[in-house]
């Protein structure tokens, strides 16, 4: 294995390289550009034997990946914010067409006004498109998830596209230590993509044509059941990854939840900072723990229900907001617990939109406020708003 100090964006590039992607189609957008630039270099030097299509827009980037995947190639791209939004139509296309494309999305706020810093609205707005979504909290996880995503998405029972999500700047441009296994070991873990269905001269078929109401509904049923299968596949692959490379991943990450009375439900890099806060609060005697939701799609309902059954209070932090409703992780957490007999009290807090820094102090204050039951139940709790 090789250990390097690299930024999150480069962790994606190395991941795509080591996964032996075959076609990459990408368009530059801050703060994703370093992903694409390093991949260009890998392709130019021959380190990565892939075709790199330098498309003229993100809509075309996804369209090119769709074409490549349809022809049986392992296709990959990366984008952020406005670019992800521009891809929207083709995100639906990729999932409905069952193409296991893997994409990195750097979480960046939507404009206007132009804001290149991190928040989750771009990826959350795509939660209905049928893509798996993995929220990463360290560069190591970014690299590892890139490799696992291909294996998960290409699994016969899944065959859906997946996006790994990393915070703008806090991960994308931050250098950390990343441990990369040897290529031979990765090849054993991730064999070449062998498409179950592809455009094939020897078996000519038509893909995606007109379908009347009498069968469309069944295709959606199959898409959803594949997402449900993905819950198991993600855990299976995460375990296999751990057995081979020493780092285990699941649907969620539990941190100090033993005998916790209050749990923070967090995602991405806020979870890392929250771990520091949890350590301090535990020392002060608070029975607090943390659950980091790693996969937002498929949403880990059973895991949340299991954890919720043993605690009194949950505070869900959202670095996003569905305007007209509330934070997305908050909504989905409440929804999966609604029918449970024993439900904790759940508070939702909006924090860090547009890249506003989230500190250990913030988390500690939130935890204390939650413990004292001082959060509003039927109104939005805006942390740090200046108005």
């Amino acid at each position: 294995m090789v250990k390097k100090v690299i930024e999150g964006n480069h962790a994606v590039s190395y991941g795509i390289r080591d996964a032996r992607a075959e076609v990459i189609a990408a368009y530059p957008i801050t703060p994703q550009t370093h992903i694409v630039e390093l991949l260009s270099e890998f392709c130019a030097s021959g380190e990565l034997k892939a075709k790199f299509i330098k498309v003229e827009s993100e809509h075309s980037a996804m369209a090119a990946c769709v074409g490549a995947s349809a022809a049986g190639a392992r296709a990959s791209t990366a984008t952020s914010s406005q670019g992800l939004a521009l891809m929207h139509e083709m995100l639906h296309w990729a999932s409905n067409a069952r193409h296991p494309i893997v994409m990195a999305n750097v979480n960046r706020a939507m404009g206007p006004p132009w804001n290149i810093w991190t928040d989750q609205n771009d990826s959350i707005a795509q939660r209905d498109t049928g893509w798996l979504q993995f929220y990463c909290s360290t560069n190591q996880e970014v690299y590892d998830t890139t490799l696992m995503a291909f294996k998960i998405c290409e699994n016969d029972k899944v065959l859906l596209p997946g996006m790994l999500v990393l915070d703008a700047f806090v991960l994308s441009h931050t250098s950390e230590v990343v441990d990369m296994p040897l290529q031979e070991e990765i090849d054993e873990f991730l064999p070449p993509y062998n498409a179950k269905y592809k455009l094939d001269l020897d078996d000519p078929r038509s893909f995606g044509g007109l379908m009347f109401p009498d069968w469309y509904y069944e295709l959606k049923y199959k898409q959803q059941t594949s997402m449900e299968e993905a819950l198991k596949v993600i855990e299976k692959v995460g375990k296999e990854f751990g057995d081979r490379f020493g780092r285990y991943y699941g649907l969620v990450e539990e941190y100090r939840i033993e005998e916790a009375e209050i749990i923070l439900v967090v995602s991405a890099t806020i979870a890392q900072t929250s771990k520091e806060a949890v350590d301090i609060l535990r020392k002060e005697g608070m029975k607090i723990g943390l659950v980091r939701i790693r996969t937002f799609r498929p949403f880990p309902k059973e895991k949340i229900r299991k954890i919720a059954s043993k605690i009194d209070k949950m505070i869900v932090l959202d670095r996003n907001i569905s305007i007209g409703s509330e934070g997305a992780f908050f909504t989905e957490t409440k929804a999966c617990l609604y029918n449970e007999k024993d439900r904790p009290e759940i508070y939702g807090v909006i924090i860090g939109l547009g890249g506003r820094d989230v500190t250990v102090e913030d988390i500690m204050k939130i935890a204390k406020k939650g413990k004292e039951g001082k959060f509003k139940i039927n109104e939005i709790n805006w942390w740090g708003v200046k108005l």
């Binding site: 250990k3 390097k4 100090v5 930024e7 290149i116 810093w117 909290s137 915070d167 703008a168 700047f169 806090v170 991960l171 441009h173 931050t174 250098s175 950390e176 230590v177 890099t269 806020i270 890392q272 900072t273 771990k275 520091e276 301090i280 890249g355 820094d357 989230v358 500190t359 250990v360």
Partner: protein, 186 residues
Amino acid sequence: MEKEMYEVRFHGRGGQGAVTAATILADAAFREGKDVQAFPIFGVERRGAPVAAFMRMDTKPIDLKTQIYEPDSIVVLDPTLLDVIDVTKGLKEGGKIIINSSKKASEFKFGKAKVYTIDATKIAVKHGLGTKTNPIVNTAILGAYSKAVGNVSIEAIEEAIGEKVPRKKEENKKAAREAYEETRGE
């Protein structure tokens, strides 16, 4: 809360290599067994505009993912910034400041901070790194950091330069070493 974490902030102008300096230092500290993080000020950089970069190192794994508000030491690649921004903002008491300057350390007054100076421009130009008007001082100033602060060895910095610097690796290593030898405090 005991703190073994050490945080450094770098000040430079866009194009001078402040961000690379932070990354090289992180790489060097990693080689000596520390867990590290390095990142630029998350902003839109234009050539010549003031930029800042940060690095953290710790003997334990670093979970924290926030900005650095109270650095333990500060490195200034371009002395003209001293008139433009407050480079010492948030510096911990007893913190260290390393400045690229031909002046003596005693000529700078930053309260209780310990000042170190090094003529990194002269050293950089001597080793053919950039020009007199646009010198690339980032590797030289890391040599000065190593001597002034003492928590990352010059050998590790030289190795990190070998890994992270694309061109003129030997010249950059020599510049770092020379600055290391020459750095003096108050």
